[in-house]
């Protein structure tokens, strides 16, 4: 008897949890196929008998969607590559080397996590302007080209790699690059995947930097681009705005679904130790 009670209460809790986290997305998708009248309706409509898929087409055509999409892809891929190139060596150095100033440098890395973007975007803009990089891809890549969080996490992971392995490799006169790629990285695959995923999500969805650092449409990314959807129809087009947001969510959603297995595996190895 107690078993049935427990099972059914678990069932109820599961459903509640599921709903709490899923309903906003359901609402988002639902709104994107409604007409504006249905959006404003009250009591709210939970189903739509005549889904208006043309909202997606309107969203797509009202702004330079493909162009923003291209920019988002370029910036995200480049930032991921940049972070890979800057974070891995730095984490390795902090994890397995001793050098003068290491403490201070690592301290500085940690200190950067305490600096809010709103505090520094003005000087960053000025620096990039003077370097004539505003409205080029570099302006969006450089400020995000590295990650303190990534260095910290990867360093932890590298510190877990058995010393003996590295010593053996060094005895074999293996170069540091080789050690990094053939030993450290493979052993930290899960952490790297996690970092890559979080990086991808963060950069793809970034709104603040993309907004304050661009003054033309040239390298504007999707999150900023779709905010101009709110200007469609004199500002009364929430359904179109949501359609645009759904379109923007799709690539990550697909990437997430595909990388499912990797992610859970990654998280099951990570856990900060």
């Amino acid at each position: 008897m107690a078993n049935i009670l427990r099972k059914s209460s678990r069932g109820v809790i599961n459903i509640i949890l599921f709903l709490i986290f899923f309903i906003p997305f359901y609402w988002m998708a639902l709104t994107s196929i409604k007409s504006i009248g249905q959006v404003m309706q009250f009591p709210p409509a939970f189903f739509v008998s005549k889904p208006r898929f043309e909202n997606f087409i309107t969203a797509f055509e009202s702004i330079e969607f493909l162009h923003y999409l291209k920019n988002s892809v370029v910036v995200t891929v480049c930032v991921m590559a940049a972070q890979l190139l800057t974070v891995v060596p730095a984490a390795y150095a902090f994890a397995r080397f001793d050098f003068k100033g290491k403490g201070a440098m690592f301290g500085m890395v940690l200190a950067t996590t305490m600096i809010p973007a709103q505090m520094i975007f003005l000087p960053v803009f000025v620096i990039l302007s003077k370097a004539h990089l505003i409205n080029t891809y570099w302006s969006l890549i450089l400020p995000q080209a590295t990650s303190a969080f990534g260095i910290f996490m990867l360093r932890q992971s590298f510190m877990q790699v058995p010393k003996e392995l590295i010593e053996a490799a060094r005895l074999d006169k293996a170069g540091e690059m080789k050690i990094m790629f053939k030993i450290m990285l493979p052993m930290s695959k899960s952490t790297v995947s996690t970092l890559a995923l979080l990086n991808f999500i963060g950069t793809w969805n970034d709104y603040f930097w993309a907004k304050v650092l661009t003054t033309t449409d040239a390298v504007k990314t999707l999150p900023v681009g779709i905010t101009s959807l709110s200007n469609v129809d004199g500002g009364i087009a929430q359904h179109i705005v949501m359609a645009g947001n759904v379109l923007m969510l799709l690539p990550i959603l697909i990437a997430f679904v595909l990388a499912q297995k990797q992610i859970l595996k990654a998280f099951s190895y990570t856990g900060v130790k």
Partner: protein, 432 residues
Amino acid sequence: MKHLAKRILCAVLACAMMFTATACGGDDSSSAQGGGETIELTFWYANSVDDYVQGAVERFNSTVGAEKGIHVTAENQGAYTDVDQKLQASYLAGTAPDMTVLEIASVGLFGDGGMLQSLDELAAGESDETFDLNDFHEGLLYNCYVNDTLYSVPFLRSTSLLYLNTTMLEEAGVDPASITTWDSFAEACEKVHRETGKYGVSYPINYWYTEAFMLTNGGFPISDDGKVCTVDNEVSRAVNSYWMDLMDKGRAHVYAYAEADKMTSDIINQDTAMWFSSTGGLTSYIEVAQENGFELQTAFIPRGTQQGTTTGGCNIAMVAGMDEERQAACWEFMKFMSSVDETVEACISTGYVATRKSALENEKMKQWNEQYPQYEVALNQLSVAKGRPNNPGYTEFQVEITNAIAEITVNRADEDATLAALERKGNELFNE
């Protein structure tokens, strides 16, 4: 194998990065015309007027621009606050655009700071046919000057208006034309609520309207010399108690500005018979009315002891520091954008007022006004309109007064304490 793949991937990505970053240093949106001497200019604008502005810029580029070898690229920066913020940042970096719109309240800030090019000489060099300052409605010029120097030219200008869903009003037995004073306004609200159960008016509390309402009762938040804050007085209290009364009787839907979406929803669902908005939204509202099956009219802000309204919108200004040739080129663009034909186009396309007096004689405008008399109301209101305050501290005050009035009317905070605190803060800000 995996690490090799990773290395190759890195290399490929690095190359891709270099390639894309250098080859596409942003899209090359400015195409040279006929090679050689074309002057490329950038113009920043704001808000959802892309259709009109991009169209106007194209018209310029293909006529005057083509003739004189000038090409303008217009970029939408978002809201007025975004324009201001980017303007300052880019000015700091030395990469400011050549021309920009400025919300009329910001002209003082930028003009005073030396960021704008004075237009006195350029304007003086024109004849009455080519550019006549006197052809602009007086009410609009107030915010073009800073300390008696001309810094900007009227562009997309507005007044606040009363919008009426005449279908709903008539259903409730109200004659729309009778709503001229605050008394008749209250009566109309009462009838609408009684007959239909809906709101008479839907109003998100905002400084722009608070100013207008105070004006119609003989007051204003700031003194004419811009030095004294005048909110803690009978006029404020009269306005506040008027609205609180309507709210309590269920005749008005009043809420904080952060919830302004409610107004849109009320309009579309026809839950409100009246609302206040800028004339800049007129064209959109007419569309909304047509789509939702009701008739739309516009009217003056109701009269209290006098008629009054606030103005808004933007002017076009030129950034300082350019050589004479570039200045002349910018001036051509500014003249074009404020010409009679363009101002008529702008009015029809958006609802902003036609800034030129002679626009009234324009055939296209006359026909349009006959068909849609709603467009003339804002124009007629100009004669009783008050310009935006020039004091740089007023920007911060706008937020304070919006919050304070909402506090009092929506959240029923203590009026005396709140108004006193507001006035103190205002005096501080105005005299920094």
